[in-house]
Symmetry: C2
Subunit: 417 residues, 2 copies
């Protein structure tokens, strides 16, 4: 199948019509083989707006509800996409699998280790699959890097870094006004609240849950001063919020050790003024790439002891899916990757093949949040990362190309190394 | 005093005439107010070469010895510069202070916590001062950043990062041939072997030992594969070394928590192909600077959510010492900073004022090596960092400008914040 080809119609319920839900609905509505048959949000006005948006796009009016359980009871819903607040993802996903609905779950961090186990056990018990919708795994740069890793350009991978570094001070600080839940987390918690955008691609480079796994982590949090300062300067309208104490450290750093000896470093940085960057960094026995400055050095290719721009090499190793996608025409948010992750979800369903990012990935990536909180709470003690595969990681195949729904969404068809 | 002005003659003994000793002697020999009266190395050929080099520069032949104790017994030696192998620095420095010789000690990491205490106690007991010759504190970029910190450009400092990232595979791998001791450390140890080049400047930004201090650290090491691969490819001449097992992880990451809530992350990276970089990173409530890509973002100065080149701001905030130094003419190794750190040492002695980087700095920066080894050995457990000042850090003055030997070496005359 090629991008633009369309298969049988997949009927979706979308649960959670906040900023992210609306954004993703806009990507789904133009797809001829996707019908949104139900929309759901705790706020009635969002439900009505989503219904209107669907009708305006030429589709029948979807069922609307403020109770996600009603969506799960609909026989015409084959799969649900969960775009709700972080702390409700797992409850809804587990219930959906129990009702036999395939699940596309948006990213976020876990609140407890046990909820990650609940997710895994529900999937194993019901035999209903879940895809973790980590869009950054489908970004052009990350997919080119994955191809380079698979083709051995970096040699043996030793170390990777990345971060969720996003100045969210206004979104957090105005959380009560825009009905966004992030504010609660930053007031109350202290950990890496949102680790999967950088961790997802690294998990691919390092074959996590497929011949390798994360063993342990340690997290450390800086003081929390950035958001307080912002509140003092911007929220004079609400003295209670203006003077609120935040627990979330401005910079949370997490080191992770993998079974095959690699280390990873994650950074969470959302309360200080900064340009957005995931600050990717990938290093092996033959060279390294660094997102800051977009630089690369590969032994025997680059001038010794010098970086070069990554432009030429990333173009040379562009993933075939992205070549095709550029010809087809990029669409959807976040530089085009939102479209690809949703197509992977839809086409996996159409073809009845396993999702490329599955429940074990979801559990082991989300759990980093809960474990980083534990480590910080105990003064940066090391914490073990559970093996959610119960040992299956040793023999689980690397994702083979022919099991993917969209040929070129076989984002790791490069298995030569 | 201005750069180029000369004071009374300071008579030095130089102990350790390896790569670094020779390099620094070349910087010292043209100084009219410095006489090298003794040179010392365990290898006789190096002693003779150093004597010849001194004579060739128009100075009297210095005393030469393979026993550093003989140098310490010389009444004409006022101060010694210790440029020996890392693990001998402290023994020689302590003995020198006991003999009343002022000490300029080159950088390196400690082997034990206790040797750092020995250094501190010797200084306190004898009243003889020691300067830690951390040249990177005197680099143009770091000094401009320090000025920016002092003038509040970054707001309240929250986080800093840096690394010793230097592809030393050939130097390490040929250690037996070039008589360099690094090989031993990489075979046997596993920790951040060389933390002070990045930590020294951070210590200035964060006022460590002067109103702030390091509380604890956690270290994590990746697998050790880079140097082994190099040995296999390059040391066929020595099958024993070719197949040797290295303990030192290729990438060692260390997180440090400070009393005032800041965090720091250090990276040690010497066994993989890479261009040299200290990857400095400095972040506060008003913005951040990152060495990779040489980018900066300052709120209300930079375009919102965008980095800009750091060129303009670093020029604007160039340190007065560096302005003067550029007019005077840069000299010495490592981009000119070697000359400045040695002038600070010499002129502090001439003027009888405290050294700008003292024994408490030396102990607390060097101890990171020993503590990172402990943390890694215990599976990345947090380890407490001793307070080598015995509580004096709370009231110790920030380095005031007028106590510095060279007016403009008052590298933290910017104390307004």
């Amino acid at each position: 199948m090629k991008l633009g080809d369309r298969g049988r119609t997949v009927r979706l319920g979308i649960i959670g019509m906040g900023l992210r839900g609306v954004e993703q609905m806009k990507v789904l509505l133009p797809m001829e083989d996707v019908e949104i048959v139900a929309v759901c949000d705790v706020y009635q006005d969002r439900v009505k707006a989503a219904q209107k948006q669907t009708i305006d796009s030429g589709w029948p009016k979807p069922f609307g509800s403020t109770d996600w359980k009603e969506v799960l009871d609909m026989p015409e819903v084959e799969a649900v996409i969960i775009m709700t607040s972080w702390q409700t993802h797992v409850e809804i996903a587990v219930a959906a699998m129990e009702k036999g609905k395939l699940v596309g779950m948006d990213v976020g961090g876990a609140s407890s280790v046990d909820e990650c186990w609940q997710l895994v056990r529900a999937c194993e018990r019901t035999g209903v699959d879940l895809m973790f919708l980590e869009n950054c795994c489908y970004n052009d740069v990350e997919m080119a890097l994955l191809r380079m890793v698979r083709e051995g350009v970096f040699g043996e991978i030793v170390h990777a870094r990345g971060g969720y570094q996003h100045d969210l001070r206004d979104e957090i600080g105005n959380g009560d006004i825009i009905r966004h839940y992030r504010l609660d987390h930053f007031i109350h918690r202290n950990g890496d609240l949102y680790p999967t955008h950088e961790l997802g691609p690294m998990a691919s480079y390092l074959n996590l849950n497929r011949g390798n796994r994360m063993l342990s982590l340690v997290s450390m949090a800086s003081k929390a001063v950035g958001q307080s300062l912002w509140m003092k300067e911007h929220r004079g309208d609400n003295p209670e919020l203006q003077n609120i104490v935040f627990n979330q450290g401005d910079i949370v750093t997490t080191m992770i050790k993998c079974q095959n000896g690699e280390t990873m470093v994650l950074t969470h940085d959302c309360n200080l003024p900064r340009p957005y960057s995931r600050s990717g960094y990938l290093q092996g026995t033959k060279g390294l790439w660094t997102e800051e400055g977009r630089q690369i050095h590969i032994e025997h290719i680059s001038k010794p002891h010098h970086f070069e721009s990554d432009k030429e090499l990333l173009e040379k190793y562009e993933h075939p899916l992205w070549k095709e996608y550029r010809e087809f025409g990029l669409r959807g948010g976040h530089g085009g990757m939102d479209y690809l992750v949703l197509r992977a979800f839809i086409e996996s369903i159409q073809q009845g093949v396993p999702f490329p990012i599955d429940v074990y990935d979801a559990a082991s990536w989300m759990v980093i949040t809960a474990l980083s909180e534990q480590s910080i709470a105990m003064g940066s003690m090391p914490v073990a990362i559970p093996d959610f595969t119960d040992g299956k990681w040793m023999k689980r195949e690397k994702r083979p190309a022919d099991k993917f729904s969209l040929d070129t969404i076989a984002w790791d068809k490069f298995e030569s190394n």
